[in-house]
């Protein structure tokens, strides 16, 4: 159990900068998710934290101690690799037992014949077998303990890799997309297991994922990474409601947020498709409005937007409508409650409005641009 801290980490492979000044503090017992598109440097950051890769500049702290130059085996972290990295010649049980035998048995104890004669080894070996079995039961792979990794499915292998990390009691767990290969049901189950484990052990978790839903449901905080930089670190609610960057807004939430290009005139009035809105820009001109699909609601008069439904997707619990809005480059997505089912069909004209406090503005660089004070007063 420990805090983790990354200070201004940079990493280059040759001429290409993979990480550009990443700073991150992770509290003791916190569950932090690291999300971002493929190739943005998530695994690299995790490997630097683990000590498997050395940073080009910056420093890593675990607990109070600076661990730069301390080898991975001595950092007391457990990691699940994106590639699983199971030992192919060992059975599932042996794979899961490796971290325990390596740490709990001394070198002499591990010798094939001599080891058995050492005092206490038999008991410790029995302990290990029991711990492995318990971990296997949590992960629902107890029936596979005698198989080799080559005889397992991708999802089963992933759970073995998870088991190998979970049998230990490390300072922190680093998980690199540990659920990416599981089916939907197993994924939900494992999500709950991991979150529960985090609470039970009180251990710090750093969890890398592509899947923003996973990050939203499990994390205390989420760090969004793009092109080797952290765009925003915050609670799931903060990221969802107040994205600091247009790329964060785009990444978090499914279906994606609607980003409407707008103009800000000299008086600070924000104009959408040429028409003035009630919104007023603050000191920074607003170039995009970000509106979540559920923030839009149908109305009869003074609509912010009007358009024809192109596609109606019925999910049972909700209804997603894709609207073609004139002069808008992309369709606008609206989320309607399930009682709107059957009341709207493709081709229908819809008028929509939005509560101004549920709209976010972004400037032309993509950074969040707060609205002026009078905008909210108008609402």
């Amino acid at each position: 159990m420990a805090t983790l801290e990354l200070k201004d980490i940079t990493k280059s492979f040759g001429d290409t900068d993979i990480l550009r000044g990443v700073s991150l503090e992770i509290a003791d017992g916190e569950f932090l998710s690291l999300v971002g598109p493929s190739g943005c440097g998530k695994s690299t950051l995790l490997r630097i934290l683990a000590g498997l890769e050395s940073q080009s500049a910056g420093s890593v702290h675990i607990g109070e101690a600076c661990v730069d130059g301390r080898r991975a085996a001595d950092r007391d972290l457990a990691m699940v690799f994106q590639s699983y990295a199971l030992y192919p010649h060992l059975t599932v049980a042996e794979n899961i037992a490796v971290p325990l035998t390596m740490r709990r048995l001394r070198r002499a104890d591990r010798l094939p014949l001599m080891g058995a004669l050492m005092p206490g080894v038999r008991r410790r070996r029995a302990d290990i077998v029991r711990t492995v079995r318990e971990a296997a039961e949590i992960l629902d792979i107890a029936a596979l303990l005698d198989r080799k990794p080559g005889q397992l499915s991708g999802g089963q292998r992933q759970r073995v890799a998870l088991g190998r990390a979970l049998v230990r009691d490390p300072a922190a767990f680093l998980l690199d997309e540990p659920l990416s290969n599981l089916d939907a049901k197993m994924r939900v189950h494992m999500r709950a297991e991991i979150a529960q484990l985090n609470r039970r052990l009180g251990a710090t978790f750093v969890y890398v994922t592509h899947d923003q839903a996973e990050a939203m449901t499990m994390s205390d905080r989420i760090a969004v990474m793009m092109d080797g930089e952290l765009l925003q670190v915050g609670t799931p609610d903060e990221l969802y409601d107040d994205p600091a960057d247009i790329r964060v807004a785009r990444f978090i939430g499914s279906p994606a947020i609607n980003l409407l290009p707008v103009e800000t005139d000299g008086a600070g009035v924000i104009r959408l498709t040429g028409r003035a809105t009630v919104l007023r820009a603050g000191p920074v001109p607003v170039a995009y409005l970000g509106i979540r699909p559920e923030a839009l609601e149908p109305c009869d008069r003074d609509p912010l937007l009007s358009g024809r439904a192109r596609l109606v997707e019925n999910l049972g619990s909700d209804l997603f409508v894709q609207l073609d809005v004139p002069e808008m480059p992309e369709t606008v997505t609206v989320r309607l409650p399930s009682d709107a089912r059957g009341k709207i069909a493709a081709g229908d004209l819809m008028h929509l409005r939005v509560r101004p406090d549920r709209v976010r503005g972004f400037d032309s660089m993509g950074l969040a641009a707060p609205f002026g004070a009078e905008a909210l007063a108008d609402a």
Binding site: L52, A73, Y87, H89
Partner: protein, 315 residues
Amino acid sequence: MPDTPRLNRPEHRQARAGSALIAPAVLLLLVILILPVAVAAILSFSDYTLGRSGIGWVGLKNYADIFTRSSYRKMITATVLYVLVTVPVSVALGLGAALLIRSVRIGASFYRTVYFLPVMASLLAMAIVWEFALHPSLGLVNRTLAQGCGTWLEGWPWFARGCAEGFPLWLSDRDYALWTLAFIGIWQSFGFNMVLYLAGLTSVPRDLYAAAEMDGVRSGWARFRLITWPMLGPTTVFVVTISTIRSFQVFDTVEALTHGGPAKSTYVMIYAIYEKGIAQNLVGMGAAITVLFLGFVMLISVAQRRFVERKVHYA
């Protein structure tokens, strides 16, 4: 609908075409690979010599000779000793060199080339160099050793005796000749094993070492035991098989340096086959040794296979 005649059905036509197509390959296989062995097996029961018209059947006499006459017992001893020494040493050295080359950052390709040189050079040509180097009085080896006389090296009894009575006649002393040949054999073949191991090492996923590090594997030896050695299992099987067969086949150094002597101490099987079957024209005897030789090689392949199926992990 009229019945298609049985033999004209598509599957039959295809089967016939198939047989016709593999016939040449099967024929070649029989003529080139099986027939010579069969002929050798048959001749081994005769006293046939080339140029004589008749053929006399002698039953198992040739084999009885092999197992009773001392020169053939020496042949088997020399061959087995040679194999037992060269194979483990050249495999271990090949693996060691491969691991070292993998661990150096610069100069890997230089070392790779240097260690591989003996493999590419003709052993016959290199044998001439060795003959010079090992010459009892003029050779580089003994002259270098003589430089050590009068120094602390004399504390070593073997060395002191060398200084007093002269250093060994490497190739013509029956206590040394076989070991000298084994040394040359190792020198020549470990580079080949090294290249095979280097290829094997590239197929070990790097992430496994990272995982081992996370699992608390600290020493290089533990890493080797946990990952490298098991992952190289298939390579090792191949390397050992190839090395064994090549060691059984040693001939050129024997022919060039010792002619099977002194006192038949380096009288290895292939050399015996050559001497009996070709030089002395005792074809029947040569054939019998050949059959024995094939038996040995076959036995080793089968034993290895048996052992391997159980022990080695194939990914």
